[in-house]
Symmetry: C2
Subunit: 340 residues, 2 copies
DNA sequence: CTGAAAGCGCTTACAG
DNA sequence: CTGAAAGCGCTTACAG
């Protein structure tokens, strides 16, 4: 941003053509005599001229921009989803602006206000109030406003008609996890969960009960252990709770890899062997799984595919996308679960 | 983006004022009679009107946007730096667009081309060719072009006059690490390093030799172990190399937390106790340190402060910032280093 | 194939 | 305090 930046007019003057011709060369939308093209290209190169995306956006009424707002950009789940979205968006010629709300409602408000001004062609929302089991009407209203200015897609359950939702198949992930453990011979299975207010947790909890019943496994309420957040420390505290138990589970699922890592450490430091005494299974299959000792088996998703689907749905607006789609899950066996 | 979005003209007409008045209310730059303000605000609320940032940017010749390009957005070091920058930028009223180059030169080129069109008020560059010990002239030229359109700041050593560089104090980090280990009684110290072509590695290597000499500790070339990349697997392979050693170090520094985590696991699985037989110290102090067993001691930085400094330097352009600044380092003791 | 002109949606001197 | 008008830097009918 110098005093006044060089424009298409400057290029045109120096090349001895009209600004329209320069524009045609830049956009490549119309034929231009080769000789003129040459001259113009030379002048462009001489000044390292690059057309102003803002002016272009204003005339074309599009800006090749995608907004993405996540709850915590430095959390490895969200950063994996973002990285996947960004690369797909970039491949399609879009640039991504990432904003972080730290899961704070006041930030969600101000971030979405800013997004409306920025008018990205599409907005991808992941985490925060959008994940609430019982929708927050204030937030729903905010989404309605945002929709007037930009197409929105959520990495969650669809919050309303017209906003496609694409999310992890929470029920399938729990089903797979429990069946995997049952296949290893476990009958006494626990679940350390976080975020009861979120639909993903609700779905996993329901599925847990259901699949345990289907498999004819005993469901013990004391094996359902709530923790406050998604941290290592929360997992460690859950391990303490498990130690107190008269009769212990032989396997436990942790809400995500961080909680599971804490669980694993906590159990170990209580002298409980993993997987010797208790098997631990994580969710998300982030790189954390390679770092724990023993390495953590985990139910994961194809982040690359998830990101691609999110961006595709965001960008190809004419298609008739399903209101809700779920990402398939798979399990990666490492060393934290044993046959009993 | 409907057919035609609602504009300041629509608002003006319905409120019975001129567009200029609406604009004045929106920007808050000039006094407007209270009664008119009321009327206008009502119409704005009625339509959830939000001014178009692109049009505004074009007239004001600024866009309140910061670009950030990182080598790997899903790497925890970069995502910590980004999160810190984003929050500081947001606090100052800027939105951040994050782009990821995957450290590929061809992506650096296309990303920077796109950045020039987008004309963010400032660009923060972290990782990739900017970190090369011997500058790449092609890349330097690319930076020169970019500078014509936007102020650039790097999270690295300053590549040229006019581009402020702010980076981790690599020498200090190594000095601190070695002195810490020496303080624990270690004399036989090793270093597993990655990216010899990067200045940060070069600095750490030099400092390693220097501080070892200062402390009168024996420097054994076979304790300087190069690995290919910054992964857990690289650390594991380094552990194998250490096992082969006739005479083993009693402590080793790993290039970053990931490498150190792999080192730790590899050593453990070779039957070498950590920290009983060998102490391991990491760099970066990311959340990885809480997940390893034993938990990893690590030399880290204040990411929040780093991000704030990067953004401040990027945005307050009138100030006379030093060409090169280094972020202070500190050590966080956990359980991977023992007194000998 | 090419230029003059209008328009995208704002802001800001300029003149009351 | 307020409006008419010009301008920001492009693109695209429109008319040759």
């Amino acid at each position: 941003m110098e005093k006044r930046s060089i424009t298409i007019y400057d290029i045109a003057r120096e090349a001895g053509v009209s600004p329209a011709t320069v524009s045609r060369i830049l956009t490549g939308t119309a034929a231009v005599r080769e000789e003129k093209r040459q001259r113009v290209m030379e002048v462009i190169a001489k000044y390292d001229f690059t057309p102003n995306a803002y002016a272009r956006a204003l005339t074309e009424n599009r800006n090749r921009t995608i907004g993405m707002v996540v709850a915590h950009s430095d959390n490895s789940y969200y950063s994996s989803v973002f990285a996947a979205c960004e690369s797909e968006a970039y491949r399609r010629g879009y640039v991504t602006m990432l904003m972080d709300t730290s899961s704070r409602p006041e930030n969600e408000v101000s971030v979405l206000n800013r997004i409306r001004e920025l008018r990205p062609e599409a907005l991808i929302l992941c985490g925060g109030r959008i994940d609430l089991e019982i929708p927050d009407p204030k937030f729903t209203e905010l989404l309605e406003m945002t929709r007037k200015y930009t197409r929105v897609v959520v990495g969650s359950r669809s919050p309303m008609a017209g906003i496609p939702g694409i999310s992890v198949d929470h029920r399938a992930s729990m089903n797979l996890g429990v069946r995997y453990l049952a296949g290893l011979g476990h009958r006494e299975i626990g679940f350390v969960y976080t975020g009861r207010q979120f639909y993903g947790t609700a779905e996993r909890l329901e599925e847990f009960r259901q699949v345990m019943a289907e498999l004819n496994l005993p469901l013990r309420e004391e094996y359902l252990i709530p923790v406050e957040d998604y941290t290592v420390q929360a997992g460690t505290r859950a391990a303490l709770a498990i130690r107190q138990l008269e009769r212990k589970p032989t396997a436990v699922l942790g809400m995500n890899d961080m909680v599971s890592a804490g669980l694993l450490q906590g159990l170990l430091s209580e002298g409980i062997r993993v997987p010797g005494d208790i098997s631990v299974l994580g969710f998300d299959d982030t790189f954390v799984t390679d770092i724990t000792t023993p390495r953590l088996s985990s139910v994961g998703y194809d982040y690359q595919a998830y990101g691609a689907m999110l961006v595709e749905t965001a960008v190809e607006r004419d298609q008739d996308w399903p209101a809700d789609r779920r990402i398939p899950v798979f399990i990666t066996e490492r060393d934290s679960c044993a046959r009993i």
